[in-house]
């Protein structure tokens, strides 16, 4: 069945979520929101979805572009407040957070703050790390999505660490970091034991040399290279008919290249 690049990404992120998990999406995360809705509608019916507005399992009358849209209040099961999501996570009661970084390094640390050496007068002022610095370790698992996989985004070392990943010099502290990093080229998984990203799969029509040349850190590759699983017919049907009938996924994920 034909599917588009946005559909591949949403399906790939969705497949990382497990039934029964409590999942949080934060600021500016509509792709992750669609992936969470898709997981709940397919393989994870008992997933609980917490939005940044504090609502649980909303069913929006109109799928919004903004994860702060009041349509994420629509038909929700119930609601708590924004800081109470952190409170729950502090007590070990939250499972998955989607956290992103403008730059991500080999340990999965995230930079959402500044590029340049002078914090008070940076070369580029980024939007800020939202709840990331704590959520990256208070949630049991972290999943990252990064569009535009390039050496500028996936770097050996960050100029500024907003949210610390699986770095080794946090003596006696609770660790955290992305377990999965999905980009527009591939899926990486982080091994908590080897402290390295491993290439889990490459998206259809992408080759390993492209992934290597576009990545600013070394990663491990398996002997036999896997291709990212294509969206199933059922996933495509649910995504197109029920979750995103107005096709906002193409607006959000750029050119809707069709993959055969």
């Amino acid at each position: 069945m034909r599917y588009s690049f946005p559909e591949l990404i949403i399906s790939t992120l969705s497949s990382q979520l497990r039934d029964g998990e409590r999942v949080f999406t934060g600021v500016a995360s509509p792709v992750q929101m669609m992936a969470t809705f898709l997981a709940k509608a397919t393989h994870a019916p008992n997933l609980l979805y917490f939005t940044i507005l504090g609502t649980v399992d909303p069913q929006p009358f109109r799928l919004p572009y903004s994860t702060g849209s009041p349509h994420l209040f629509d038909r929700c099961a119930n609601a708590i407040t924004f800081p109470e999501i952190f409170d729950l996570a502090n007590r070990g009661r939250m499972d998955v957070a989607f956290l992103g970084g403008v730059q991500i390094d080999k340990f999965g640390s995230l930079n959402m703050s500044v590029i340049g050496n002078d914090f008070s007068r940076p070369k580029v002022r980024l939007p800020g790390g939202a709840g990331g610095p704590l959520m990256i370790r208070s949630f049991k698992r972290v999943i990252s999505w990064r569009s535009r996989h390039s050496q500028r985004c996936l770097v050996e070392q960050l100029p500024f660490t907003t949210s610390p990943g699986w770095i080794s010099d946090l003596k006696g502290q609770r660790h955290g970091g992305p377990d999965v990093l999905v980009t527009d080229l591939c899926v990486f998984k982080f091994s908590r034991t080897t402290k390295h990203f491993h290439l889990e799969s490459i998206h259809p029509e992408i080759d390993l040399d492209t992934v290597k040349s576009q990545t600013g850190f070394l990663f491990r590759t398996p002997r036999r290279q896997a291709i990212t699983r294509e969206p199933s017919e059922n996933e495509l049907e649910i995504l197109r008919r029920y979750i995103d009938p107005n096709n906002i996924r193409d607006d959000l994920l750029g050119s809707p290249k069709v993959i055969q």
């Binding site: 849209s69 952190f86 502090n90």
Partner: protein
């Protein structure tokens, strides 16, 4: 005060409650119920030296910074998504990159906990350890402290926030100043109102005393200093069950805000060129009616 303030204009309220140099906490999140009418009126009043504390409400913060009202901004995320993708806040970026304002970057939970401490009347509050983040190197007011009950347990302590004034746009108030924010569970907004020294609320409508059921009240009147009726007061952002976000006007703003000159033209045309929020709404058109299920 609420009992006499019903007919006061937003302009008078801003003059009284938001002097130059105030620490201002701006409510609203992303594209949901930013207090845009109050923000525009602060710009018209040419306030200077404001210290902003911000939820992730980039559009409001960007305009106040661009208009020269701001000396410092404490924030944890500024930017949002529209149908055109991610919107970076250009005037904020430009002002910080040029060193014109102080950017105090924080973390979502740290700001919320600082407001909780402010509301509880305690000077600081411990939060779970997040060492390893370079934010702790640039925030010298955030300290590391071991628990007095378990020296192995480290915490980060943050000072309480009690901002001078809260800006909030809500659905309804009654003549006494009781405020209803019609969202499923808006109770953190009550905490912010308890933390702030003064509370300024714009609302879509004001009803007679006794017409709001007591169980619906989000902020009780004795915490509210001023209520001003401003229909569509959150536009071009959305308000739950009332109106949709105006992505087209936000696109006009974002295009203008790319340069200082473009921003100055936007200010002249849409803010200084409009005497009040009603004139602004006449100019950009009423926001689209709220979309419900069939």
């Amino acid at each position: 005060m609420p009992d006499s303030g019903k007919e006061t204009s937003l302009n008078q309220v801003i003059q009284q409650l938001v002097p130059d140099g105030s620490q201002v906490y701006c409510e609203g999140i992303l594209a949901n119920r930013l207090p845009m009418a109050a923000v525009h009126e602060i710009i018209r009043a040419r306030r200077r030296g404001l210290r902003l504390v911000s939820a992730p409400n980039g559009l409001a913060i960007d305009q106040l910074i661009g208009a020269g009202c701001v000396e410092e901004v404490e924030f944890y995320f500024l930017g949002f998504m529209t149908n055109k993708g991610f919107q970076a806040m250009r005037r904020f970026r430009s002002a910080v990159e040029a060193g014109r304002i102080r950017a105090k970057e924080s973390m979502g939970y740290a700001v919320c906990m600082a407001l909780r401490a402010g509301a509880y009347g305690i000077p600081f509050i411990p939060i779970p350890d997040f060492r390893g983040s370079d934010l702790l190197n640039v925030r010298d007011d955030y300290r590391i402290m071991s628990s007095p009950y378990n020296p192995d347990e480290m915490t980060v302590i943050v000072p309480a926030l009690q901002p001078d004034v809260l800006l909030l746009h809500a659905h309804t108030a009654d003549e006494h100043g009781n405020v209803v924010l019609d969202e499923p569970w808006p109770m953190f907004t009550l905490t912010t109102a308890q933390a702030c020294q003064r509370v300024l609320v714009t609302v879509e409508e004001v009803v007679e005393a006794g017409k709001l059921g007591s169980s619906r009240i989000t902020i009780p009147h004795f915490l509210v200093d001023a209520v001003v009726k401003v229909p569509f007061g959150a536009a071009p952002t959305a308000l739950n069950k009332r109106y949709e976000v105006d992505d087209n006007h936000i696109a006009v703003y974002q295009e203008s805000a790319k340069t200082a000159e473009g921003f100055a033209q936007y200010l002249d045309e849409y803010i200084f060129g409009c005497t009040d929020h009603e004139a602004f709404i006449d100019k950009i058109g009423q926001p689209r009616e709220w979309i419900r299920g069939s």
